[in-house]
């Protein structure tokens, strides 16, 4: 085990190759899901509408991680930091500068893009567990940085900031929760379409080429450094927008809402939804929002253990996440059509 000895290892990949056509849903299924998302809030209580809003928001954050990991093959445990930056950008702009909530979203996106792009620079040198550690460091540092004294005037320190919930515009006769839900839904759909198209574009193909084989990609003329940092930037921007929406929905930002636990939840959401399968993000988000509640319902004292057991069940039954179910479903549908 001498230190200088060099070892030749087979280049096995951490993230399996997902063909780009397998990353999305068919048009029919997409429209059906969209219809459910559009109609559902009319029939349920405000609290459930709030939960559905959070579902979309976490879905966006999981989607962002999916672009980074499933798309470009880079691993991140630091998504909570980008989420926090987005949330704080919105909160500070709304409360200190009276900027309209809708306008803060693109600003948060741009700020987070820059942040992610810059963070991607040193991360270029690292991969696998080393990258995991670097992003992990970012996630643990973020709540402490937000508490720093000289930022307290803007961030409110440990206390955080209270965000005002926007009213429905044009005098629409719907509740604040419902308006926010539809607003979030529109943003989510826009970002989903953007992401699908991004992964189908030249840049998306470059991401996937890097994921599957970095050396081959650079031999084909893909600027590996640029696209890797770009993937970080895009992922951070989408996470930041999710963070902004989250701040508006929860009406409150505080450093301790954005700890490493959030980053781990997002990671679990991605695995449960299926790495590299964009529509799975919403399934993953549902898992990380509802399963802890279900676990708590089954046993208060052992909620952690119940959650762990449920998670184990899911990964035993479908190691590839919800994508596996979708593939099986598609095959069944195909068979039925033939008969």
């Amino acid at each position: 085990m001498s230190a200088a000895e060099e070892v030749v290892a087979e280049g096995h990949q951490a993230v399996e190759a997902v063909p780009k056509r397998a990353m999305t849903l068919g048009t029919g299924t997409s429209l059906a899901v969209l219809a459910v998302l559009l109609v559902a809030p009319v029939f349920v209580k405000n609290f459930i509408i709030f939960q559905m809003t959070m579902l979309l928001i976490y879905g966006l954050a999981v989607l962002a991680l999916n672009i980074l990991t499933g798309g470009s093959g880079q691993f991140s445990l630091g998504q909570s930091a980008f989420y926090a930056v987005g949330a704080y950008t919105t909160a500070v702009l709304m409360e200190h500068f009276n900027v309209n909530y809708a306008l803060t979203l693109p600003i948060a996106g741009v700020v987070c893009f820059a942040f992610g792009f810059l963070f991607g620079q040193p991360a270029l040198r690292l991969s696998g567990v080393y990258l995991a550690l670097a992003t992990f460091a970012l996630a643990t540092a973020m709540p402490q940085l937000l508490k720093l004294n000289f930022l307290e005037h803007w961030t409110g320190g440990v206390q955080g900031l209270v965000v005002t919930k926007p009213d429905a515009p044009f005098g629409l006769p719907i509740s604040q929760d419902m308006w926010l839900y539809y607003f979030t839904l529109v943003v989510t759909i826009a970002i989903y379409i953007f992401s699908v198209n991004l992964l189908r574009s030249r840049s998306g193909r470059a991401f996937m080429a890097i994921r599957d084989n970095e050396i081959a990609a650079s031999a084909m003329g893909v600027d590996v450094a640029l696209y890797k940092t770009l993937a970080f930037g895009v992922s951070a921007a989408i996470t930041g927008i999710a963070g902004s929406l989250g701040a508006i929905a929860v009406q409150f930002v505080a450093p301790d809402s954005y700890t490493i636990t959030l980053a781990i939840s997002l990671f679990l959401g991605m695995v449960v939804g299926g790495v590299g399968w964009l529509p799975g993000s919403i399934v993953g988000a549902a898992f990380i929002i509802f399963v802890p509640n279900i676990a708590e319902g089954i046993s208060k004292g052992l909620s952690g253990a119940v959650f762990g057991v449920l998670l184990f069940l899911v990964i035993y039954l479908v190691p590839h996440g919800a994508r596996q179910i979708a593939i099986v479903g598609q095959q069944l549908a195909g068979k039925l059509r033939k008969n």
Partner: protein, 292 residues
């Protein structure tokens, strides 16, 4: 200058904790090629078992040996029952499995032994070591045990048949299988050893940080950082990394203005990342050359 020496000594004392944990992390990384997020919780659970044994009147060293044996068996059992079925699943699914294991162990320990903080005895006493106020005999003993463990592991891997077989199974599984090594059981053995080393780390750390279900949270992070800094392929590097992280942390807390206890961890991590940017395989890690 005296402040500096004192802080370095204090850093070595806390570093010993991290070194212990880092050693366990590297052990399992060698065997299974993943970082086990539940490692700290496994160590915590082992420590609780030894505490329970002592509550029942078993003397310290007997409890120590029994816990070691139970942890070894427990580690193997976890691998056989929970993780062997996931051997063919994607890496990220395995990581999710570690997180699930973390939640299960943490919450069960909380239910069995509740979340109150408990005193844990030390076999080395807690008098000042060689007249120094900064290092107690317990901490000196902890450093001693860590170094002993390191030497023991070195001989195990370098000079025993089974150590060689484990190294072979980890570095080139297919070739190892061809020469008749049961690679699947080597992985289980790696889990068992990692659990046993973890239990030693837990029992040595518990007198310092006190016994409770969340005692390992912070320690494990430093242990990971130490292992990565030293190089994940080198047990020696892990121990050196552990001491370095301990020293970093203390010096940063003392000399950089505005760094309270809160910012110690981010600064230590930032330093480690700057080291990794220059040496991506860690200080003592082997550079892995990929076959194209």
């Amino acid at each position: 200058m005296e402040l500096f020496t004192n802080q370095v000594l204090a850093g070595i004392a806390t570093g010993a904790i991290y070194a212990c944990m880092a050693l366990a992390v590297v052990m399992i990384y060698q065997a299974i090629d993943h970082l086990n997020f539940a490692q700290g919780e496994m160590a915590m659970f082992s420590t609780f078992i030894s505490w329970q044994l002592m509550q029942w009147g078993v003397p310290y060293w007997a409890a120590f040996v029994i816990t070691l044996a139970l942890s070894f068996v427990g580690g193997i059992a976890i691998e056989r029952i929970l993780f062997k079925p996931l051997a063919k699943a994607p890496v990220l699914t395995n990581v999710a499995g570690f997180i699930a294991l973390f939640a299960i162990i943490n919450s069960s320990a909380g239910l069995i032994w509740d979340f109150t903080i408990k005193q844990y005895p030390t076999p080395f006493g807690s008098a000042p070591f060689l007249g120094s106020q900064l290092i107690s005999t317990h901490q000196a003993g902890m450093i001693g045990v860590t170094l002993l463990l390191l030497v023991g592991l070195y001989f195990f891997f370098q000079y025993t048949r089974i150590g060689l077989a484990m190294r072979a199974a980890a570095s080139l599984p297919e070739s190892a299988r061809l020469v008749g090594i049961n690679t699947s059981w080597m992985i289980a053995l790696g889990w068992g050893m990692a659990a046993a080393i973890g239990s030693i780390a837990g029992m040595l750390i518990a007198p310092v940080v006190f016994l409770e279900p969340n005692m390992m949270g912070g320690v494990l992070i430093y242990g990971f950082a130490a292992a990565v800094l030293g190089g994940l392929s080198s047990p020696f590097g892990a121990v050196v990394g552990g001491f370095l992280v301990g020293i970093f942390e203390n010096l940063a807390g003392t000399y950089i203005p505005g760094v309270g206890n809160e910012l110690k961890l981010p600064i230590a991590l930032a330093l480690i990342i700057s080291v990794l940017v220059v040496k991506p395989a860690g200080l003592f890690g082997r550079h892995i050359v990929k076959r194209v």
